[in-house]
């Protein structure tokens, strides 16, 4: 048996993504475990937050995926961009604005006189995390839904099952894979995020890590992060157990909604999207109006854009062999799984680990190059996931056909596989782009000195309490990200025509 050609590259990628973990292990090596019983309720909080967020993301993401995949809507693409837009907003910014807007004495109360419940604690944190992570579930579920053949729903209906019931009994069980893939990303994001639970006054594992970190007990922070990795490992295992039968692709369902159904959908989901995107922008604008415009250096937006764009390109280049390895065998699957760890490490710990790693490469240290490597390590799973799905759907006889027409494996890859999986590649690139745009810690610690991005700028003015100054960069972040999403969707459209 010859090894699949993608293995060496995938192995390399997996090993590189393991370097941060290796650094954590060396940092933690002189530390005894700091997991005491007191941490148990923190662990409980963490797991509850994770569970609630995953649940919330499924409750919002799956219906939206369903709508965007099956329901015949005017301006379909635009809706999709809007549904995915929350990914463009750093969750700590969302958390902060929601906190500021809600509750007695919040901005909504001040301006409109409507009393609103305050956003805090477990429920508040879960709501905020849900608002900023459900697009992960939406995107993965949507692509699963699009690959389903409609005939099974038709069969169920002719067997006397109503449409609504069919959705639950016939459609959803078949996209469990897609839902699980998205939920995994949500769970990892929730595990690694610090800002939101902290802002919502919820004690989670990351907070313990931050406390140790800020007390300069880097070893302990590393040790705790490693413990977090155990949870990540469990999640990866659980997710890989979830399997649905692979199906032949077919013509997807198209539903023509009635007027009242359209209104119902709008009434249900408009508030969610307004909350996730509208509210932060509105609050920032409000503060902008209060503080007055004090100038903004637009080159910062450019920094963000090109660094993220390069990261997106690099990430998909690395993701391609990893995705192919995952499809070629068991070992490859393991390599692919390994790349997910980077997504679950808290940002600041990851940032520091990469400082240690980066210092081994002095020529790269504090250059854009290292920053891009860092983005790639953190967000590789996003790219791998979507490249893998699109490759799974590629008809193997196309490559064979190119081979017998005289193309070497390499040429067949370049001329056939690559262009035909472009949809997944572009989608993956867009996700990496979005996450890189809002990434903070690695950017602060690893970017070139003086290199400022929209998210570091947002952080800076937020820390300083100059919230009004967050309006313009916040808006830019959303607009640029929306453009990236739009590009991603045109890629998708072009590909649909071809099939």
């Amino acid at each position: 048996m010859r090894l699949p050609a993608s293995y060496p590259m995938a192995l390399l990628a997996a090993l590189i993504t393991l370097t941060p973990i290796y650094v954590l292990i060396t940092l933690a090596s002189d530390t005894s475990s700091v997991f005491d019983s007191h941490n148990l309720d923190i662990l409980a909080n963490t797991l509850s937050l994770m569970a609630l967020t995953v649940l919330g993301s499924i409750l919002i993401g799956v219906p939206l995926a369903f709508i965007s995949a099956y329901v015949h809507l005017p301006f379909k693409k635009l809706w999709l961009v809007i549904f995915a837009a929350p990914l463009a907003i750093p969750s700590y910014i969302g958390a902060f604005t929601l906190y500021a807007a809600f509750g007695p004495g919040g901005e909504i109360n001040n301006l409109l006189g409507i009393p609103t419940p305050s956003m805090d604690g477990l429920s508040g944190a879960a709501i905020v995390m849900t608002l900023y992570t459900f697009p992960f579930v939406m995107m993965t579920t949507r692509s699963s839904l699009l690959s389903l053949d409609a005939s099974m729903v038709n069969a169920a209906r002719t067997l006397g099952m109503s449409m609504t019931q069919s959705v639950f009994k016939v459609i959803l069980p078949r996209v469990v894979n897609g839902i699980a893939a998205g939920s995994l990303l949500v769970a990892l994001y929730t595990l690694s995020d610090f800002g939101t639970p902290a802002m919502m006054r919820l004690d989670t594992f990351t907070r313990v890590i931050y406390v140790e970190y800020n007390a300069f007990a880097l070893g302990r922070a590393a040790m705790l992060s490693l413990q977090l990795m155990v949870i990540v490992g469990f999640l990866l295992m659980i997710e890989s157990q979830i399997k649905t039968a692979t199906e032949r692709q077919g013509r997807p369902l198209i539903l023509f909604p009635k007027k009242w159904q359209l209104s119902a959908m709008f009434i249900t989901f408009a508030p969610i999207l307004l909350l996730a995107i509208g509210l932060p922008l509105a609050i920032f604008s409000l503060w902008l109006a209060r503080d007055g415009f004090s100038g903004f250096d637009f080159s910062i937006a450019w920094n963000s854009t090109y660094a993220s764009a390069i990261a997106a390109v690099v990430a998909v280049i690395v993701a391609i062999p990893v995705a192919h390895a995952a499809l070629s065998g068991k070992a490859g699957k393991v390599m692919e799984r390994v790349t997910y760890f980077g997504f679950g490490i808290p940002g600041i710990v990851m940032g520091t680990a990469l400082v240690y790693g980066g210092l081994q490469l002095p020529f790269l240290y504090q250059t854009l190059g290292l920053l891009i490597i860092a983005y790639t390590l953190r967000f590789l799973p996003l790219a791998v996931g979507s490249v893998r799905t699109s490759t799974e759907h590629l008809d193997p006889s196309l490559v064979k056909s190119a081979r017998v027409l005289g193309a070497s494996p390499r040429e067949a890859f370049m001329r056939i596989t690559l262009p035909l999986t472009m949809r997944g590649i572009i989608a993956g690139a867009a996700l990496v782009f979005l996450e890189s745009m809002r990434e903070l810690e690695a950017t602060l610690l690893l970017g070139p000195t003086g290199f400022e991005t929209l998210s570091t700028y947002l952080w800076r003015v937020y820390e300083a309490g100059y919230f009004g100054r967050a309006a313009i960069p916040g808006l830019l972040l959303v607009v640029i990200s929306a453009c990236a999403l739009a590009i991603m969707l045109t890629g998708e459209k072009r590909n649909q025509l071809e099939h």
Binding site: A100, A198, G450
Partner: protein, 318 residues
Amino acid sequence: ANIANPVSVDSLPKLEGELTLYLGRGEGGLYENVLQAIEKKNPNLKLGIRRGPTAALANTIVAEAKAGVRRADLFWAVDSGAIGLVTDAGLAQPIPSDLSAQLQPQFRYKEWTPVTGRIRTLPYNTSRLTKEQIPTSIMEIADSDLSIGWAPAYASFQSFVTAMRILEGDDKTAKWLKKIKKRSKTYAGELGVVMGVERGEVDIGFANHYYTLRLKSGKPDAKLDLAFTQNDAGCLVNASGVLALSDDPLATNFMRYLLSTEVQSYLASEAYEIPLVNGISVPQGIPSLSSISPPKIDLTQLADLRPTIDLMRSSGVL
């Protein structure tokens, strides 16, 4: 001791060359204008700024040193713990005596120099309390029936607990923490504490002074005011500080700028920080340094965070 008068930037040597500053923690938004002004004044200065969470930058500096790489010439941190980490690692350059001479005696250190001060305060909600209802001893607050907002994970709070440990001992501190915990609401940061007080979520809070002043400047009718304790950790004056990592005189000279009249008064008036050099008035809204009675504590001692964290954890606060 004698305090040298602050100098004006006009009499300082021009800065020329390249300088990399690691600027910890975000008040950077406010420090930004200071840095810009310095750059404007010194067109030949190429100032590179790396901003980041204070602890992360301190860790980075230590890691860089371990790897034999030095990228930062200066480290300006808002928290003395971080400064302690770097000075303990033996990375800081000595401060010339003429520089520290400009500072009030209790703020003179060998390897770093404070830039501005921040006082621990008790922000309170004016519609729920009057100043008189607030005990003037931090220890007594634990026995009051006030509801309290705090941010135990915040570095300044931890420095305050360290001060309390030094002044009152571990046992008393632990008891105090436990009592407060019962009536407290935890926030992520002290801005949150102040906002919570203003909204009436709690009666009083523990926070650095500037959060209240900033909030009030954006919202003059806020139902918020500051109270102070006396002679205890509750009104500890802590400092943000700067240290030099390179022996280049340029780095030292840059520090001189930070202690100049102009910078100090700018920081006082715009950033609501407390000037530590002579002759500059404190920001509006707080009493002058002489009218409050902060505890006498060597700020370097506050860098010893470990026992504090352990104490706070065993008290169930962290």
